[in-house]
Symmetry: D2
Subunit: 132 residues, 4 copies
């Protein structure tokens, strides 16, 4: 499961070096996850309305090349693994085919009271289920 | 009622011109309101826990001089008027006595269901009460 | 001169009330200005590369209805007036035809040394020129 | 070399779950680095003015417990290793002695033209120098 999202860099996202600030990339990764869920027929807004919350428990980003204001970027978001306990995504951000950054996140699933709960069936992949 | 808050400019708050981005100032204004409420013996976190929400319905900012990364700024937040219907604050942001920006906000009060409700007694000033 | 831009609300842009934080709207207004310049045949990135900088000197926002995570919004950005001294834009943000917020900004033009300079010919409207 | 920085959580930094959004932590880490440099007798603003830029090439964050609006947090920033090629920092964010998150960053050093250059002597630790 992979989603490709086009992102236009905002002026607000750039810093005094004239490049995108490193804290912006995980915001884009989150946008990629939103679109991946939408494409899978669900939607994160509906999940939260149903009392299911996904929280980031681990984040890693590797920065290779800077992105700049007004760049048009391509973000590839992949569901790497989803088990009963956690969901892992991988990200690759490109401009004209050149990788600018890569990243990985691990999500856990909480209920409305903030307690850890099982990842819903609809999000568990075949591979993930075997691994759980 | 006035509060003075010291603010250290973050790198993330600055843009490719090397100055604080104009969208950051209202975030600082909100910090000023938080401190003003705290100094008045209340706290906005407790208000929200009690089901009372303050929302910005109008914002104005006048930008005079740029602020830069690592600057140490002084934000003066003043409760201008508080009636049963709305609360007005005024802001003055300075560096070494020089005014960099001024602003005004108007807040309304909502209940937990998002409906407009009266501003709580504790927030209504003598002047504001007369004006309401 | 008017531009219409579609905006998908990001999770990061929403606050504990579950609605878009009021400081996000001016970031969207800036995106509208970027697209308006692009549609006019120029581009703000090129302007900065040429040593011409547009800075916000005044901002006003009126908030009417909240926007929420994952909403698809329409932002209408209009060049209201452009003279030798300043450029004024007006904004209207809608969801399904309902106005959520309106705003206005005034920009001044700086050179690479941060000094005020005349607004470039290409940005001065016929109406604005008469008004200057 | 360690710096402890007190951070008051801003409303803007919290998301619809009512907790600090995960993208905010690396902004705080950057603030910790600024203060660590200041305490060491230098300052990052002066470094940039001298044409020396530090860029994040790798980021890792582990999230354990949520932080909330108005929380008063303690961020411990430690220079883990600094060689001729890169600088590594470690972070521990606590509230009342409880660790909420930990993180690590790796920085590289660029010159004004964006080319990789050696880390300045003043930033290279004895341990780091041996490791380089």
């Amino acid at each position: 499961m992979t989603n490709e999202l086009e992102i236009r860099v905002r002026y607000r996202e750039c810093d005094p070096m004239g490049v995108v600030h490193h804290t912006v990339y995980p915001t884009w990764f989150e946008m990629g996850r939103t679109e991946l869920l939408r494409a899978a027929g669900g939607g994160y807004r509906d999940m939260e309305a149903a009392g299911i919350f996904l929280v980031v428990v681990k984040l890693e980003v590797q920065y290779r090349q800077p992105a700049r204001y007004d760049d048009l970027l391509q973000l590839e978001t992949t569901l790497a693994k989803a088990s009963r306990a956690k969901i892992q995504h991988a990200y690759s951000l490109k401009r004209d085919g050149i990788v600018l950054a890569t990243g990985e996140t691990t999500l856990a699933c909480l209920d409305a009271s903030g307690q850890v709960r099982e990842v819903p069936d609809s999000l568990v992949t075949a591979d993930g289920a075997r691994a759980s």
